[in-house]
């Protein structure tokens, strides 16, 4: 028989008061465990999704790239805002007339722990990027280096056979298999940043943690709280530390546009990009003074699947292309200042004249479709248009569906898939028309043209052309820049005007919200990069 029911009421322990106190203590402990106290405020707080990693060798996205570029400095940096690569850790740079051998003379600089930075650190970082064990996603950026491809494939393991040499601690020599006109721009890319050999070797997996990491750039890593905040502090040992004006910079994580915008609007963030702009607010925000946009090196397009009828017929592809009024999509659906894409390669690349596509022409569209044997859409099979699940993709797809029905008489069905499923499906080639997008990595048209090589994993259209492939090879080894740009232009015209394997819709814009009266050096760039070392606060006038 349980005793508690029969315990006389007067024998109850006088514990009421005590247990209340205990409860409050538990609560207090819980609160203290979960929350710290408010800390030092940061000088600049920007929105940055939780990066996959900040290890330069493994970073493969903008979020990690921004942090890596703030912590480390490469042979070159991109100058804000025109992004031209200028010497950084390299003081002077020499190249042979054929563009195959590059010699970098390094400045006398140190890591944040005081150890001198040597050319060996660069060789170590680049070898590590190429080593199969690292499994770096951007290893291919260095494939032009002598022996790199074979080394990455594991055909040989002796790194001294790579075209990377360190004649002395302040000289780094790179030997390429063929000239790469944008090589200096690559040297400013986050994958090619130096890493501290002495730390990486001591802590191979944990070296990027705040307790171990050592860096050579404008900032050092202070704290990394997952999905919350990455805090960086000014690096007093950076060679150009006098030019850095911010003491503490916080990268704040957030993956929900409404929440991000609310945090910005309530003063919790100083800068957000399009991840902090709710689609429903674009109309209102775009009229505000803190709204800043600039063209983005990125194109929104649709892929045709050339392996399946009816899109194995070029005329059908062209008919579908000419039936699309991209202007109405930009002005009525997107409304954020996006530009109609008249080319695959977005405008703005130095020295390059992109293709100019003619665009919307309903009569021509109908004529082409009739020539292909489908007058007024008669006999045209049902078309399935595939996109990854998202409200704005759906809106665009609906416009396309309507325009194709009205102009071509085509029956188009929309089908959406969750991101990973979508990618796997398109990769398999199991579609007719599928949404696509491409962001350039470096300032050269080839970043948009390499992907259409026969059998390239990014091609995904089934397009195979020996003409295209050989011209691509030719352009890769052409030394004369003007001639090379002409070849690239020709390549672009093959995939768009001549073969029409894709349907460009619009050029993305970089959308940033920030108070320009307060910050100098935040102007949006073609690659949506942040240059935290070059960022400064304007005079105290605009103080909060």
């Amino acid at each position: 028989m349980p005793s508690s029911l029969h315990r006389p009421w007067f024998s109850d322990p006088p514990s009421m008061r005590g247990s209340v106190r205990l409860r409050w203590m538990v609560l207090a402990v819980l609160l203290l465990a979960g929350c710290g106290f408010d800390e030092e405020p940061a000088d600049f707080r920007f929105l940055n999704p939780e990066p996959e990693t900040i290890d330069p060798g493994r970073v493969s996205g903008q979020a990690g790239g921004r942090i890596a570029s703030a912590l480390f400095e490469g042979l070159c940096v991109r100058r804000h805002p025109d992004l031209q690569a200028i010497p950084a850790v390299a003081e002077t740079i020499e190249t042979t007339p054929d563009g195959r051998v590059w010699t970098f003379h390094l400045r006398d600089t140190v890591w944040s722990d005081g150890r001198p930075l040597s050319s060996e650190d660069f060789r170590f970082a680049w070898t590590r990027l190429l080593a199969p064990k690292t499994a770096a996603r951007y290893a291919n950026l260095l494939f032009a280096v002598k022996g790199a491809r074979a080394f990455n494939r594991g055909e040989f393991t002796d790194p001294s056979r790579l075209g990377l040499r360190c004649p002395d601690p302040r000289t780094f020599v790179v030997e390429l298999e063929h000239p790469v006109p944008y090589f200096l721009d690559l040297c400013a890319f986050y994958s090619l940043l130096p890493v501290p050999k002495h730390v990486v070797e001591a802590h191979p997996d944990l070296w990027i943690r705040p307790e171990f990491i050592v860096s050579n750039g404008p900032f050092v890593l202070d704290q990394w709280l997952l999905h919350r905040r990455i805090r960086m502090r000014r690096n007093p040992r950076y060679w150009n530390a006098d030019a850095v004006t911010l003491e503490i910079v916080d990268a704040i994580a957030g993956d929900h546009a409404n929440t991000n915008f609310n945090r910005y609007a309530s003063g919790g963030l100083d800068w957000v990009d399009s991840d902090g702009v709710p689609a429903a607010l674009v109309d209102r925000l775009s009229r505000r003074p803190d709204w800043h946009t600039a063209p983005y090196l990125s194109t929104y397009f649709y892929r045709f699947n050339l392996r399946r009828p009816p899109f194995d017929d070029r005329r059908v592809r062209q008919a579908f292309y000419f039936a699309v009024d991209a202007q109405s999509i930009c002005t009525n659906v997107l409304r954020g200042g996006q530009l109609v894409a008249h080319s695959l390669v977005p405008p703005g690349l130095p020295g390059y004249q992109e293709v100019h596509l003619e665009g919307y022409d309903p009569d021509r569209a109908r004529r082409l479709l009739a020539e292909a044997g489908y007058p007024d859409g008669e006999g045209l099979p049902k078309i399935e248009l595939l996109f990854n699940t998202s409200e704005s993709h759906r809106q665009i797809a609906e416009v396309l569906q309507q325009q194709w029905r009205e102009i071509l008489g085509a029956r188009v069905e929309l089908r959406n898939m969750e991101w990973k499923v979508f990618q796997a499906t398109v990769q398999r080639g199991d579609y007719q028309i599928a949404r696509g997008g491409w962001i350039g990595d470096y300032l050269d048209p080839s970043t948009f043209l390499d992907i259409w090589e026969s059998g390239s994993g990014n091609n995904r259209t089934g397009f195979r052309s020996s003409v295209y492939d050989s011209l691509l090879q030719e352009a890769a080894t052409t030394v004369d820049p003007a001639e090379r740009m002409r070849q690239l232009h020709q390549l672009e015209s093959i995939v768009t005007v001549q073969e029409c394997i894709i349907l460009p819709i619009y050029t993305y814009v970089v959308t940033n919200l920030y108070d320009a009266s307060k910050w100098e050096g935040l102007e949006p760039t073609l690659l949506n990069t942040l240059h935290l070392g070059q960022l400064r606060r304007r005079s105290m006038e605009g103080e909060r």
């Binding site: 106290f37 408010d38 064990k133 990455n152 409404n258 990618q423």
Partner: protein, 305 residues
């Protein structure tokens, strides 16, 4: 009692094993993999990555390696966040979710129980109407409406509280209210019904008859039985607060488990998804056992079974 607890604990082992195997295969069966993206990987790079994460082995072998790691307390490396192990990620996210959940639940009890009891004591008079109205409101308004409403009033209207994030007490208030409101409403209704059922029973009358103060009758006799339904509800409530905080975490940018859980599934971050599922399951199972024990302590008539 001890035998009961031991038996229940032993019973969780096959249950967790089943969950592990099922979630392992469900994850692998989902189309698309961790390395499928807008940007295809160079085949060599992809092979290197798959080798690094052991995806080049057969499924049974992968499962075996996972279980072997698990027995050493190793949940594997995250596929998406390549610098972190799943264990590290969970140990950063769990305290956040637990703190938020516990505060929300406490808040729910502190407001819900008095509201319900007052309603019952003033049965069908105006305090009852107010209490019932409030709890009806709490049940009807979903958290994705309540959260933004609170933000509108307290952040943008009154400038009293910061919006979102994690790190200070003031950042905890709004999400805890948002998360706790529905539960407070349920608790109020349960407490009201429970109290109404008990107030007229013999043992309460006896307590009054022997001259106890009304306060003591209520606190020591009535509530003890009246709150049983509330205790029963606490198990599922805690579970739903822990698992169902995803929306609130999103609205208030809170780095809790929910965020990682959803993202892990979307990213096909196999190890992180598995780790989260196992952690959630362990939490739910232990909570259920705890509720059974509590039940027994409050009402010894209930058999432990």
């Amino acid at each position: 009692m001890i035998r009961f607890v031991l038996r229940r604990l032993l019973g969780t082992i096959p249950l967790l094993a089943a969950i592990l195997v099922a979630s392992f295969f469900f994850m692998r069966m989902a189309p698309g993999g961790p390395f499928d993206d807008e940007r295809s990987l160079d085949p060599q790079v992809r092979a290197n990555l798959e080798a690094r994460y052991g995806l080049d082995r057969g499924l049974p072998e992968q499962l075996w390696l996972y279980v072997a790691g698990l027995s050493r307390g190793d949940l594997g490396p995250s596929f998406k966040y390549s610098g972190w192990t799943v264990r590290e990620i969970l140990s950063q996210a769990l305290p956040v979710s637990l703190t938020l959940g516990m505060v929300a639940l406490l808040l729910a009890m502190v407001t819900g129980i008095p509201l319900g009891v007052i309603g019952a004591l003033y049965h069908r008079r105006w305090p009852d109407l107010v209490a019932t109205g409030l709890s009806l409101f709490g049940i009807c308004v979903p958290n994705f409406v309540l959260g933004p409403l609170l933000i509108l009033v307290f952040v943008f209207g009154l400038h009293l509280l910061p919006l979102g994030g994690w790190g200070s007490l003031s950042q905890l208030i709004l999400p805890a209210i948002t998360l706790g409101a529905v539960r407070a409403a349920y608790i109020a209704r349960l407490a009201r019904a429970g109290t109404l059922e008990v107030v007229d029973l013999d043992f309460v009358r006896t307590a009054r008859a022997k001259g106890l103060a009304e306060r003591r009758v209520l606190l020591r006799h009535t509530l003890r039985l009246a709150l049983l339904p509330v205790v029963t509800y606490l198990g599922p409530a805690t579970a739903s607060i822990l698992v169902g905080s995803v929306v609130v975490e999103k609205i208030f940018a809170i780095p809790g488990l929910g965020t990682f859980f959803v993202n892990a599934a979307l990213n096909r971050d196999y190890t992180l998804a598995m780790g989260t599922v196992l952690l959630y399951s362990t939490l739910l199972i232990s909570l259920n056992i705890l509720v059974d024990i509590l039940h027994h302590l409050l009402d010894p008539r209930q058999e432990l079974g």
